[in-house]
């Protein structure tokens, strides 16, 4: 039965990583900015949910939407006030990455200073343990799987079907052409940061629901999200979701052989091997 339990755990983690993957993926694919502050967006969204429900006793569903709103506000502000300025200066990718790294470092430390390292949790959620046979999971797990997979599905649908989705894909594939078509790149970028950050806010809420909020909570989900992006292939959002899913499954099924502490090594090992064999990633294309 251990296998069945690990499979269910795998599904839970996999859905979460799939969501994490597409949130950073859509940003990186479109803007080619190594948005390191994405982890801070996650942390702030998680804290928003925990503080609103625990301190202000607000309903958790209201807090859910507040998490998303905070995430969008922070993500878009970073683009509008930091990255846009650097873009206009003609900064290199490395420069933008470093400024993002600086912002994330300072921001995480500020969270630590304000709220200490004590964990915070979301209150008022009907947390229950459920079971099918010998396999156990919680209501938070169910929420995580359902909401993650629905979010990923909606995003893929949006990118494929809607007008804005097509615009985003066009900008990601060919910046010059998009500019020639008269698209306002800054607006498209802002939209992309809103989508990516908002969905990462969803992920942060789910994470805090299942676990707790703490200052460095964003580090690991962020690590998994960009690992999924490079593993899946930079250009393919579906690839990011698939890669995230594989990473989550591998992490849990890996526990059959390895102790749980080795999950980073598993993720990194998979990435290393795939990149050596297929540098463009699982679903990536060779051109562009």
């Amino acid at each position: 039965m251990l296998i069945a339990q690990l499979l269910v755990q795998g599904l839970i983690t996999a859905s979460f990583y799939a969501l994490a993957g597409v949130t950073w993926g859509i940003i990186y694919r479109t803007t080619l900015t190594f948005h390191f502050s994405h982890q801070l967006v996650f942390t702030i969204a998680g804290y928003t949910a925990a503080l609103l429900t625990a301190e202000l006793k607000l309903h958790f569903i209201f807090a859910f939407f507040c998490s998303i709103a905070t995430a969008i506000a922070l993500g878009c502000s970073i683009d509008a006030f930091l990255y846009r300025r650097l873009r206009e200066m003609g900064a290199t990718k490395a420069t933008t990455f470093l400024s993002s790294l600086g912002f994330a470092t300072a921001g995480t430390a500020i969270v630590l200073l304000l709220f200490s390292s004590n964990p915070r949790s979301i209150k008022g959620f009907p947390a229950k343990t459920l079971s099918i046979g010998d396999v156990f999971f919680t209501t938070a797990d169910v929420a995580m799987v359902a909401i993650s997979l629905i979010s990923v599905g909606l995003l893929l649908l949006f990118l494929r079907k809607s007008r804005y989705g097509k615009v985003i894909r066009a900008v990601g594939s060919n910046r010059e052409m998009a500019r020639n078509l008269g698209l306002d790149i800054n607006k498209v970028y802002l939209l992309v940061y809103a989508i990516g950050s908002g969905l990462f806010g969803v992920a942060a809420f789910l994470f805090t629901l299942k676990n707790v909020a703490y200052p460095t909570m964003g580090v690991f989900p962020f690590f998994m999200s960009f690992t999924a992006v490079f593993l899946g292939g930079i250009n393919s959002i579906a690839g990011h979701a698939l890669a995230g899913f594989i990473l989550g499954m591998a992490e849990n099924l890996g526990m059959i052989i390895l102790p749980g502490e080795y999950k980073i090594m598993i993720a990194y090992g998979i990435l290393f091997i795939v990149i050596l064999i297929k540098p463009e990633g699982l679903l990536g294309s060779k051109r562009g």
Partner: protein, 577 residues
Amino acid sequence: MDYVYHILILVIMYAILVQSLNLIMGYVGVISMGHAVFSGIGAYTAAILSIHLGSNFLIGLAVGFVFSGLVGALLALPSLRVRDEYLIVFTVGFQMVVFEFMLTARGITQGQGGIPGIPPAELLGISFHTPLRFLPLLAVMGLICFAIAWRVTHSPFGRVLKAIREDESACRALGKNTLFFKVLVFGLSGGLAAITGSLMAHYISFISPFSFTIEVSVFIIVMVVLGGEANFWGPIMGAAILMGITEALRFVPGASNYIDAAREIFYGLILMFLMIFRPQGILPEYSKRSKKIPIPKELLSRENGAADPDGIKRTPGRFQEENQEPILEIQGLSKSFGGLQAVAEASLKLFPGDITGLIGPNGCGKTTLFNMANGFMEPDQGAVYVRGKAVTGLAPYKLVTEGLARSWQDVRVFKEMTVLDNVMVARPNQIGENLFLLFLRPGRVAREERENYRAALEYLQLVGLLDKAGQLAGSLSNAEQKLVAIARLLATECPILFLDEPTAALDIDSVERVIQLIQEIAFRKDKTILLVEHNLDVVRGLVKKAYFMSEGKILAEGEPAKLMADPKLAEVYFGID
């Protein structure tokens, strides 16, 4: 007093560590997010060797250097196939994996508790166990590390590193195996970082995983950036300032509880605002935009672009002698992208000393053909021969060894390098590019460097840029940059040159100058040239024979004037109905 020595020791240790990262970040332009871990490898190696084997600290130092160097080289290997952003991903992963390993592999690293009781460094019966005694030892080690970094960065090897930073493809097109350089410098950087770690282990006599967290890696990055990337003294500046601030924070009353958070806020903000307001750091790479270059008198007295004493070797106007072997032959090259056939069965021949044209409307496949012939793109079918030898699919840097080099339509000079360095880096077979010979044969390297200096100035004289040799290439006008690119191409000494639209985006006078120059190159320097050009006047003036390409196929060949007189081809070219 011990406290002052202690601070000095920390500054020197960090300066070494920061210099090692500067080699990668400053000179190659690649960010490593896991540099703390390299020093960790050195620290653990030293600790384990000295505790379990009781060995001399120099042995631990050397083993750590080699081990960490090998790990660094291995880490750079995937960059063989992917772009630089992946190195951020791999180094973050590396940082996290090794940190986890330090925490969990209790049998080797003693886990979270770390390794206590590391004996102090000892040499010739002297024990360096107090800060005052340790300081001279550290100073000597620091001097050695800085001397190595100086030698590496102020050498032909370092020049290639900068060229990689500026434009890796252009650097490969000059015959440099850029991966090899990256792997070597990652190895060296990892090794130097390990030296700091092993010295620290002996000095503090205790190590734990928490000395090598990602926060420490970021701290080192901030020091590199603050001091000034690719500035040799920057690391000392960065380490001194940030260590000074960190220590000063300790004296703020009541700050002890917040010191870690406060420090991180502080250097996070420094990093962010530096990138906006002074990305070059306190000490920029070049203090002045122009460097004084001593120029030999006989070069100065010669008129710009005037013939050298060898005189003109051949007379223009010779055209494809019968039964002569082609120096380069392209046979049936094809390439398709998805369903689109970009090049179909294109064949052409170049004869020694000729200038051959390749013309056709936009999007006709010229660039794709060009890229395939130069090894930047793999053909689906077909072959390329240089002097009868098949060179199809060889890497660009190997094609240069075979005698085939290219220029770029978008010029691609190494902007943040002097004009002279732009040309010198292109010189072939430099033994100074070998990291080991650099240290083992300094005399030969110096002699070779003088020859290359002289040769580079000759080429700059030829293109008329002798007086700008000391300026940064990026500060020159577009036309001048094109001339730098031509001098750089000539410096490879390749007999076959592919010129990609050398007159694009130039004013009339500059076009005239470039045409003259190409003629001189072909006839005086004995080069075979394939010229891709849009400007038909340029083609007519230079070329006796041209290939006409359209929709991926070579439609016709012959004298350009005759080609353009053909109404069918003119229609294709100008789109006249």
